[in-house]
Symmetry: C2
Subunit: 246 residues, 2 copies
Amino acid sequence: MSVTDTAQPTQRTQPSQPTRTVAFVAYPGLTLLDLVGPLQVFSALQSVRDGFRVVVMGRRLRVMETDTPLAVVPDSTFDYTMDPYAVVVPGGLVPTLAAMADRSLLDGIRRAAAHAEVIGSVCTGSLLLGAAGLLDGRRATTHWMFRDLLTSFGATPVAERWVEDGPYLTAAGVSAGIDMALHLVSRMTDEQTAREVQLLIEYDPQPPFGGIDWGTVDIESHAPLAQQFLTEVLTGHPDLLALLRR
Amino acid sequence: MSVTDTAQPTQRTQPSQPTRTVAFVAYPGLTLLDLVGPLQVFSALQSVRDGFRVVVMGRRLRVMETDTPLAVVPDSTFDYTMDPYAVVVPGGLVPTLAAMADRSLLDGIRRAAAHAEVIGSVCTGSLLLGAAGLLDGRRATTHWMFRDLLTSFGATPVAERWVEDGPYLTAAGVSAGIDMALHLVSRMTDEQTAREVQLLIEYDPQPPFGGIDWGTVDIESHAPLAQQFLTEVLTGHPDLLALLRR
């Protein structure tokens, strides 16, 4: 039973509308909050509205490490998740950069996205969409440190919290997935529902020192580090490395 | 190697300072973002500064379900985590309320907290601190829907994003753990370090409809639902139920 069912009448979708599946992609080494921010938003949606199904799909139903001490286990696989309405790809650091050369993972993402209405990403997850050939000609965003790399895949990098272009919905780094997911909830339902979900997860952010002061962030100075990461992880993939090297 | 190590010199703690362990508590059915928000913050801290160790401790090193489709596996246990500097207890809905009667879990929390400098919680995690007898006479907070229950444990409920009282640091619902964790990072290091971690996780929140408009939230109307949850999950524990029933 949901939190709000009993307290107040909630809007239920018509029984005739088919259940929409929101499928999150999981792979070893991902940045956990990239995945869990939007996953919690959609799990909360599922608890207050009928007609939504949330899954986390990996290549196999196996324990995988993350970039935190917590390991995770998906509840579905690429092969088992049929025609999701939305696919969301989380990002990460070194393992995600390395995954740009992982043909099996990229193939799984492409297949999941083939009939999806929404193809989303958080953080460097958009680099996986790009490597899968999905962002050519699209406006997109990613973690600030890797934003320029999107051009290598034919995308136009945009410095916004989230960017929509057709079916593509890409979010900035890590925590931006929460904002993007609430936006997507409102798109798939309505503003009232998104606000209800926001209240459930008490998303009333108060960063102790305020938001990020971008005027003080020297993004360009981090470019050599980003290139160093790429060189290290893609040493066996000279074509991809050449594409990404500027 | 950390993200910022190469890009710019970072402050390293003195080698003479012992490593401080931040230990998160995991138990079946928890609300995943309660755990992962602050866990990601401290994992980022660990990646840019020496002298910190982050662990997630369960009773056993076993797969456990969460309130999302993602299952998780802790990397440590209560028995194995010696003298953590900080202990953080995440919350949840029905499983957390039921856990208020779980003597083994409460005993694990008490033992972990016995010598800790910081005893923290996110969301209804503070109800577990309360049930463990740790919040008597303290100011504390929790998820808005269960805030009044804190009085049952001798605590004074406070409607703030996070509340500090001595070693106790309790956060409001779910996403509040991110704000609380950044505050704790600044307390354990300095503001510059907290800002650096904030930049790494790109925590520059932009909720699509702004923050929560508390003037429109009828908290009192949810009280019967909260009591209904308690009655359902604590039916075998009449003493605890009587304590929590108003």
